[in-house]
């Protein structure tokens, strides 16, 4: 059910990732101040954008779930959020490396995107204890969806508040001069963004397929067990 179109998707992902890596290493310019480490920007920023997109998508899928009552939407929402949290770890790690390279510290507070990302990440980490401490599966799905929607609405508000409060030293990627990156940086960045997005969607589909398969297995097992006549 989820594996439709999977093959072309994975092929596209591999191609995109390979292209992106090639561009990052050979095409994009070497930064005068920050050197080679600056190239981590091509991983860090797309990862952050895709991760946030994943959180918001998880929230939208959760709305779908609550409105339709169809549990498969909750599974989709869960996987999206779950993958985004993992990406989030990557964002924080790469962000930290970049901060070290650019400003000499492993963490900087006057970088609004990184700071608000940390808060969002801390919030979403609570998704796991919330979800897995509710025993009834139907309730678990419903409460997780409520969380996903609340957290999804929180993301933009949080960014707004942090942004307003901090001085900006972070080179704002897409708002500088109306969204133009100099020369070779732009296509490299865009390809990386596409590659990261494709990677996310592929992993999302992969995990959904695997979950679906194991759920089907469980339900078959249950049906077999129910065949045994109950002793009265």
């Amino acid at each position: 059910m989820y594996s439709k179109g999977f093959k072309p998707l994975s092929v596209a992902t591999v191609v995109a990732v390979a292209t992106a890596l090639a561009l990052i290493f050979f095409y994009a310019p070497l930064d005068a101040d920050q050197g080679f480490v600056q190239k981590i920007f091509y991983v860090h920023v797309p990862m952050a954008m895709v991760s946030l997109g994943g959180f918001v998508a998880g929230g939208l899928m959760a709305i779908r779930h609550l409105r339709s009552g169809d549990p498969s939407w909750d599974v989709r929402s869960y996987v999206a959020i779950h993958l985004s949290i993992i990406l989030g770890v990557g964002v924080l790690v790469t962000g930290s490396i970049w901060a070290r390279a650019s400003w000499g510290h492993w963490w900087v507070w006057d970088e609004p995107v990184l700071v608000s990302f940390l808060i969002v990440f801390l919030l979403y980490c609570v998704y796991y204890p919330l979800r897995f401490s509710i025993e009834d599966p139907e309730r678990q799905a419903r409460y997780s969806s409520v969380f996903a929607i609340t957290a999804g609405a929180f993301v933009p508000l949080n960014f707004l508040a942090v942004r307003l409060a901090q001085a900006y030293t972070h080179p704002r990627v897409l708002s500088q001069t109306g969204g133009n990156l100099p020369g070779e940086m732009r296509p490299t960045f865009l390809v990386s963004l596409v590659a990261m997005t494709l990677l996310f969607v592929t992993l999302w589909k992969l995990e959904l397929t695997s979950k679906h398969a194991s759920a089907q297995l469980k339900s078959l097992r249950r049906k077999l067990a129910a065949r045994e006549p109950a002793a009265v």
């Binding site: 609570v126 401490s133 309730r139 419903r142 409520v146 609405a153 508040a161």
Partner: protein, 224 residues
């Protein structure tokens, strides 16, 4: 719905007056934390951004204490089922709980603010009070709405107090930022009302979003 919300609120206020479980605890907590800050920062008087920060961090932590207890009576004595059996919209429950929390926060602040002025604040608090009031009210509203939602979310889990703490604090960061930033110029040695409008705007936006969102999703919680 309003009738039911009033009935639930009246019941909660009566319970609180009798058991005195939330407001005194929150107030005591706040005062204790002020003392901790005195020793931790080794300062006799604060002003400006440090004062604003201490004031608001303490209030928000006290709010967590209150939120954790918000549904305690229902959890322990099966009150939710009593409500589910009555012909009331669950939104009434949200309104009542959020209103109760709002009132509790106001009550705590009635003591906490003068205490803060006495114990830690350098500059005078009476002067900027009229500007401080809208900040307090808007912040309380946001905390009340989000707090009621988080409390309801946590009731289904095995460790509700823990989930409340972990969940509420990140969600309140925008409130903290806006309130502290709004308060900071008011508690400087030479107070002014810099950018008050902007931060009140942020608080209002937060309140609108979360009140609407909570009302929309609350129906999906609590029933089975």
């Amino acid at each position: 719905m309003i009738r039911a919300a009033r009935a639930i609120l009246a019941k909660d206020l009566r319970l609180e007056l009798r058991t005195k479980e939330s407001v005194p605890a929150m107030t005591l907590f706040t005062l204790t934390v002020y003392v901790l800050f005195h020793f931790g920062l080794d300062r006799n008087s604060l002003d400006g951004s440090l004062a604003a920060g201490v004031l608001w961090v303490t209030l928000l932590l006290a709010a967590v204490v209150g939120v954790a207890r918000l549904f305690a009576a229902e959890r322990e004595q099966g009150g939710i089922e009593g409500l589910l059996l009555a012909p009331v919209d669950l939104t009434a429950l949200f309104v009542a709980k959020a209103a109760a929390l709002f009132l509790f926060l106001c009550a705590v602040e009635l003591v906490a603010l003068p205490a803060f002025a006495l114990l830690l604040l350098g500059p005078d608090l009476l002067d900027p009070l009229p500007e401080l009031l809208p900040v307090l009210l808007l912040a309380n509203l946001g905390v009340a709405a989000v707090g009621a939602l988080v409390a309801a979310l946590a009731t289904a889990t095995r460790a509700p107090e823990l989930i409340v703490t972990l969940l509420l604090l990140p969600l309140l960061v925008p409130v903290l930022i806006a309130s502290a930033q709004a308060t900071e110029p008011l508690v400087r040695s030479d107070p002014s009302a810099d950018e008050l409008g902007r931060w009140l705007g942020v608080l209002t936006l937060y309140d609108v979003v979360f009140v609407l969102l909570s009302v929309a999703v609350f129906d999906f919680l609590l029933e089975d």
